[in-house]
Symmetry: C2
Subunit: 469 residues, 2 copies
């Protein structure tokens, strides 16, 4: 695609001229921005307002895509996967409570008025306003191509953090994408089938049927709960002789699980887990993960059939290579309150934004959650859409904490809405009902709004599907 | 599992004593059977009637499993995959008209009263009444173990026939299992994404978007129809600029497609296909398949993005190694009218049966279809269940042809029920309605009876999902 494909129009100039005024309201001496803005090319790539390139199709990218004005902006998404995953329900797909496809939304299906490229981004050139992409298709993987942008939004997410623990990348399974959920589902079925084959010793059986989860945050806990449901409701019926050998252990270096929740709710979840036979091993430092074992400072080598690793996030490789301001501790892209990416001297690029797990706001660190990414995407879509109307003043982004929820198994959940209302802390079946209904209401397409309750009903009524596809 | 695990009981003797009487009714001189029967061990492996081992979980194996008396027989299934596929609806899953899991039934889920091993069968020893299995699990693939049987049913199916055509195994995609459907679905999406990437020449686009189907039988035709629906209903909306470059070609060495159908119906299908822009290339001898081309004697090298190969079946490797009577032409296991496998001198083994695509009846060749496998399985389950009651005379198997159906796209099908009623030949929307309702009624579980119409409705209402998972 040649750089000269799109003719520049008068509107682009108009738009860039507005910019200093937009941002000057907060960052004082207008002069400071002119130097940065002078670098911004005054061209428009397609449609009247130029091309907005969104990097990533996670919570940030997909929500932004949905809310963007696609009539006036030419919107292009670049992402290595062609769909969005509704991550709050991902844990349920690892055991078939839900099917994979009922929590995904194809990027292209959302609107025929967008462009999409299945590729990774290798580098960004803010001077030339181009990005270099490398194809993520089987037939031309790694093939490079360039794209121009007028505005760029970086929401490439983050990678799972192994804290350098040996063997995690090779043998552990993360829980960030559908491919991970598939691996887990097939692995659990594999372990049970293995244990059921003739000639397998009791010791081998117990080893294969020990499932270890590292990380007691919401994702790890929800997955443990779903796995426990799966084993107690389905596998115990299909492999009655194996259930006595089955164990689930949750490891965490902290003293409690669900640290981010109210202490009472964390305690409630711990009690429920313990009652269901899930071993909670807090204060444990895992030192190595192997194909069939987990090693820790406190307990030594423990055999297991699967290790699921959920201990937080680390910078995305693209973010590592970017020559912009970054948070020292987390290495995330540092943005100002308007979500603009800043150069090393903390001068914002007027047309490059970052949101989601790959970025954080200067002096206003927020957790790397879907909720934050979602709110930032809604904010930015409003900012970008308002730029068309030419409305002057832009308010900085402010986060409204709506609380947190986690499923803890057996139709029970913990919901901590204390930021909204002091007393809104609940654990149990009512919380579970709230958990299900709020997530269902948040899913995007009509298709999934139909499918998700259907699968919930079928899981309740007929059990989970155990075909190893 | 040691051979001596199961004590013999008096019932086993009783059961074997009945056998000569059962079979003598047809094969005259009783003496002839005594020699064979004397080889049959008089042990019983579990439960009162001994162990029935079913090899395979296709139409034959799964139907037999369903109908077998599992109270008195110990039923064990050995199959490399842990589920049954409802093959008549497989073509629809290649493009997402239906989801993969709504046409599968897990073997274990059917009954908790069975044993199952995920393994291939390497060899059968009818003297010792044992089979040697090799595990098909990731962690101990190829690990051998032996199983004993009292009665053995071979329904291991067949492999796709490439007729030795170069490159088909490496580059062609068959359409026999869910894994094939997945490959096709991802491949089509890959081809479209490739063609949409920057820098792809018009020639490359046209090559990548040419989909070739070799074989104009019902499977090939149904797949072509589903693919055409997918492209005209979904891809044309999502990739409007690419549809003009998209082509579907159906190749067959015969002069007509759907040869097994009535000539008028075949003609009707041809006309409908041609009208929708599907190129029907009959009388073509394909000589080679490559990663991105198809070579034929008549047309030379034609570039294409995908080749789907559906030209019939060939013997399963297990069947090839068996030292039993086989059909000379098709190399399938030859059975008598009671579905008993015969040794090279055509003496039947009284306790070894074969059915489905891997076998054929002596002097009564039937097509390798789900319908035949299904009826044979029903017959055999009745025979085996009746043996418990000790009812004497067994009727030979007889096939009742119920006709054939095929979907031809755009809510139309061809139905040829002429074996049932002379005038029952229909092509069009009424046939399509009949096609859908009969297959829906034939699906097995409540789960799938709910899911299939749900997905049909969602496909109609919201289009197919294009997430490349």
């Amino acid at each position: 695609m040649s750089l000269s494909r799109y003719p520049s129009t008068w509107k682009s100039l108009q738009q860039v001229k507005q910019a200093p005024f937009l941002f000057a309201t907060r960052w004082g001496p207008q002069q400071r921005f002119v130097s940065v803005l002078s670098k911004t090319k005054t061209r428009t790539l397609g449609k009247t307002q130029g091309r907005v390139v969104i990097l990533g199709s996670g919570w940030g990218g997909y929500q932004l895509l949905r809310k963007m004005n696609k009539k006036d902006y030419e919107v292009t998404v670049v992402s290595p996967r062609n769909y969005f995953v509704f991550t709050p329900l991902l844990a349920g797909t690892t055991v078939g409570t839900l099917e994979y496809r009922c929590i995904t939304e194809p990027v292209r299906q959302y609107s025929k008025d967008i462009d999409y490229h299945q590729a990774y981004v290798e580098s960004i050139d803010p001077e030339k306003q181009t990005i270099r992409c490398s194809s993520n298709l089987d037939d031309n993987r790694g093939q490079l191509f360039d794209l121009d942008y007028d505005k760029l939004v970086i929401c490439v997410g983050a990678y799972s953090n192994t804290f350098g623990t040996k063997g995690v990348k090779e043998h552990g399974i993360f829980l960030k994408d559908i491919s991970d959920a598939k691996k887990i589902r097939n692995r659990v079925l594999e372990c049970f089938e293995y244990a059921a084959q003739p000639g397998v010793s009791p010791k081998e059986k117990a080893a294969k049927l020990h499932f270890a989860i590292v990380g007691g945050g919401p994702t790890g806990i929800e997955f443990s709960a779903e796995l426990c449901d799966f084993i107690s409701e389905d596998m115990s019926r299909l492999y009655p002789e194996l259930v006595k050998d089955t164990r689930i252990s949750v490891y965490d270096v902290a003293e409690h699980i669900l640290c981010s929740f109210d202490a009472k709710l964390s305690e409630y979840a711990t009690k429920k887990f313990t009652r269901r036979g899930i071993q909670i091993k807090t204060g444990i430092h895992v030192t190595e993960v192997g194909h069939d074992f987990l090693d820790s400072k406190e307990e030594g080598k423990v055999p297991c059939g699967m290790v699921v690793w959920n201990t937080g996030i680390t910078a995305n490789p693209l973010v590592e290579t970017l020559d912009v301001a970054k948070d020292e501790r987390s290495h995330r892209i540092l943005t100002n309150d308007y979500l603009q990416v800043m150069d090393k001297s903390n001068n914002p690029y007027p047309n490059v934004y970052a949101l989601g797990d790959c970025s954080t706001i200067q002096d206003n660190a927020l957790p790397a959650t879907a909720q934050v990414a979602n709110q930032k995407a809604l904010y930015l879509s409003k900012v970008l859409n308002d730029q068309i109307k030419g409305s002057g003043v832009v308010k900085p982004f402010s986060f409204r904490n709506l609380g947190a929820m986690a499923y803890i198994g057996k139709w029970q959940a913990v919901v901590d809405m204390s930021p909204v209302h002091k007393k809104a802390k609940e654990g149990g079946s009512l919380a579970w009902f709230f958990w299900r209904s709020s997530y269902l209401s948040m899913t995007v397409s009509f298709r999934n709004k139909m499918l998700i309750p259907m699968y919930w009903f079928l899981t309740y009524w007929t059990g989970r599907d155990v075909s190893k596809l």
